[in-house]
């Protein structure tokens, strides 16, 4: 009996051992064969909160760089005052804030500084203080600095977008698959050229602000958007006259004579005017108690094409009145000019127009006063005039698709307008925008600037130029704006668009057209250095 009990216990023990070994064997099979190849959840790439922003050519616009946030446990400091002083000196943090945090017993863990660079980290380590902890973090860096600063926007210390495309494309940037960069429509070369030429013009004519836009008329891609003054997105604070405001989308302006293209497009669309129809101009055009004057001396009569070429307010008012206020408002609504434009940029401003759209309003809106739109809104609508008459909504993401939408005006009207815009540059106020071989069509605008109490500021102008090139089959449109430029000796004291905005547009086009593959069609003459 004792032997039987003994043997039973041995068998039970053996069964337990076999079961234990079987479990180990099963676990080995599970770990090595069934789950082989996994890394146990470890990610093999550095996790960044935001994907890169790149331009249409793959050039880097914005990237998260690895930095660290510095925290301290002040209860381990031997001398809290001295530690606050040393850390403030090393990191640039506010010494009083640090001292108050260190002396406050309620906070065992004090933030010293965020997003410190490796150089600052080395300075802090050199202090030899205990109780310091570095938490990995990321800082958004913009390699091109001020170039496209307002357009790209910035992020806050928590790496959330707060303005520009950083905010507008926030979801796309954060959820990008495998950290693939987000490709924008911007061409940094065109952006730089536009911004630098505008900056040079600002130096010459001293406007308060200036800006420009370049857009593809078929895809709607915005290749460049400049707004000056600008700011350095890599700096912690604004300096001088730096501003984060993007005047191309956040401000609305009475654009003046560039708006006449819509009056003429409507007239041709409705056949209320012919290109060669003659209008009487005179010294002033009375509408009720108001009198419309010209900005410059005009002949007594002008053909319709010359009314636009010479930018006659009186002639344009007559053409606009033929359409009538109801039809004019309907047309501008159809062109999108009375509604804010919705793009990937979060900043936008609603157009301003009179609630009472009477006769005098019809006349003044005809030549671009009394209605305020943002430059981006204007350019999108003007692009529809020249691109075959089809609606186009701007986009800041790269695309190859022809995004032209609904037919807003007839293709024939668009063709007429293209010819007329070319005439403005060859025979009218846009001559200074002409660049041989690039067939530029365009329109100048020299608008009065509204001041306080509903009156216009004397001798203040807001000048602009709208261009399309090559005008026979436009691929790109350009718009430049100077807010209250001053005349110079070279311009005989005049600050009109023909002297300020038009030459700027011409210089920009002459520099960007080769980059964009727009051929120069000037006639060949002779070969250089006798190679013929």
């Amino acid at each position: 009996m004792a032997d039987g009990l003994f043997q039973r216990r041995i068998v039970i023990g053996a069964v337990f051992c076999v079961a234990a070994f079987a479990l180990v064997g099963l676990r080995l099979v599970d770990v090595t064969l069934l789950r082989g190849g996994s890394h146990g959840g470890y990610e093999d790439r550095a996790v960044t909160a935001r994907a890169d922003l790149v331009d249409r050519n793959g050039e880097l616009l914005a990237r998260d760089l690895p930095v660290k946030d510095l925290y301290a446990r002040p209860h381990v400091f031997w001398n809290k005052d001295e530690a606050a002083h040393d850390l403030a000196g090393a990191t640039g943090a506010d010494e009083r804030r640090l001292r108050a945090g260190f002396l406050n017993a309620k906070h065992p863990y004090v933030l010293i500084a965020r997003q410190i660079t490796p150089a600052t980290e080395a300075s802090v380590m050199h202090l030899g203080l205990p109780g310091l902890e570095f938490e990995p973090s990321a800082k958004r860096y913009y390699p091109d600095g001020r170039n496209a600063a307002q357009l790209l926007g910035v992020t806050d210390p928590d790496n959330n977008g707060v303005s520009g495309l950083e905010l507008g494309l926030q979801d796309r940037i954060r959820t990008s698959e495998d950290g693939e960069p987000v490709t924008t429509s911007i061409d940094m070369r065109v952006q730089y050229i536009l911004a630098s030429e505008i900056a040079a013009q600002r130096q010459t004519f001293g406007p308060r602000a200036a800006g420009g836009l370049v857009m593809d008329v078929r895809t709607g891609e915005v290749l460049a958007m400049a707004s000056l003054p600008d700011f350095d997105p890599n700096a912690r604070a604004l300096t001088g006259d730096d501003t984060t405001r993007n005047i191309m989308v956040q401000d609305v302006y009475e654009l003046g004579s560039v708006f006449k293209i819509f009056s003429f497009a409507l007239a041709f669309e409705d056949h209320t005017t012919r290109m060669d129809e003659v209008f009487s101009i005179g010294q002033g055009y009375k509408i009720g108690k108001y009198t419309i004057h010209e900005a410059e001396h005009m002949p007594a009569v002008l053909a319709a094409r010359d009314i636009l070429a010479q930018s006659s307010n009186i002639g344009t008012a007559q053409i606009a009145l033929r359409s009538g206020g109801v039809r004019q408002k309907e047309f501008l609504t159809r062109m999108g000019l009375l509604t804010p434009i919705r793009t990937e940029l979060p900043e936008q401003r609603k157009p301003m127009y009179p609630s009472n759209w009477g006769t005098i309003e019809t006349a003044t809106i005809g030549f671009g006063q009394g209605i305020s739109v943002s430059p981006l809104r204007f350019l999108a609508s003007a692009a529809a005039i020249v691109n075959g008459g089809r609606e186009i909504i701007p986009t800041f993401l790269k695309t190859d698709a022809d995004r032209r939408g609904a037919q807003l005006i007839k293709p024939e009207t668009s063709e007429q307008m293209r010819g007329l815009l070319r005439y403005v540059v060859t025979n009218g106020t846009g001559k200074n925008a002409n660049v041989e071989g690039y067939d530029i069509g365009g329109k100048t605008g020299s608008a009065q600037v509204p001041g306080e109490h509903g009156r216009y500021i004397p001798h203040a102008l807001r000048t602009s130029f709208f261009a399309a090139f090559p005008i026979e089959n436009p691929r790109y449109v350009l718009f430049v704006l100077l807010d209250q430029p001053h005349g110079t000796k070279a311009t005989y004291g005049f600050a009109l668009a023909g002297y300020t905005a038009a030459p700027l547009a011409g210089r920009v086009i002459s520099r960007i057209a080769p980059l964009l593959g727009v051929p120069n069609t000037a006639p060949p003459t002779r070969l250089a250095d006798g190679n013929s």
Binding site: V24, P143, P514, V518
Partner: protein, 133 residues
């Protein structure tokens, strides 16, 4: 017999314990090594990202413009793109020696001394008799 079997099982269990411990230790060391290498990969990728950013900064249009101006290049004349259709044909005689303005990159008139190019002269030797052809 039972005793032999017991002894064998105990010995097998002991050896298994040793083997399991050995594998476990090797796994732990490999895991540490893997973690270390993954950290190195992550740090290298971060460094590459920083270097790419630095490259984007130094190769940006503003800096290139500064360098171009420092070396006497200007914006006034750009290399012009053209198509083969617009290129003048060899032998076309232009009228009045008017200047060419398209279809070739025009270098601005520079005050920097130009190194003369030595133009090779055609050999009188037929192509078929030249070495290497």
């Amino acid at each position: 017999m039972i005793r032999v079997l017991n002894f064998f099982c105990v010995a097998l269990m002991g050896l298994s314990i040793l083997a399991l411990y050995h594998v476990s230790e090797r796994t732990r060391v490999a895991q540490m090594e893997l973690t270390k290498v993954n950290h190195q990969i992550r740090d290298a990728r971060a460094s590459i990202g920083v270097l790419e950013t630095e490259w984007a900064h130094v190769a940006g249009p503003a800096r290139i413009q500064q360098l171009a101006e420092r070396h006497g290049m200007t914006n006034t004349v750009s290399a012009q793109l053209s198509s083969f259709d617009l290129l003048p044909r060899r032998g076309d005689a232009p009228l009045n020696n008017s200047p060419l303005r398209n279809a070739s990159a025009e270098a601005p008139q520079s005050s920097v001394a130009v190194v003369p190019v030595v133009r090779p002269t055609l050999s009188a030797q037929p192509i078929s008799e030249r070495t290497g052809f």
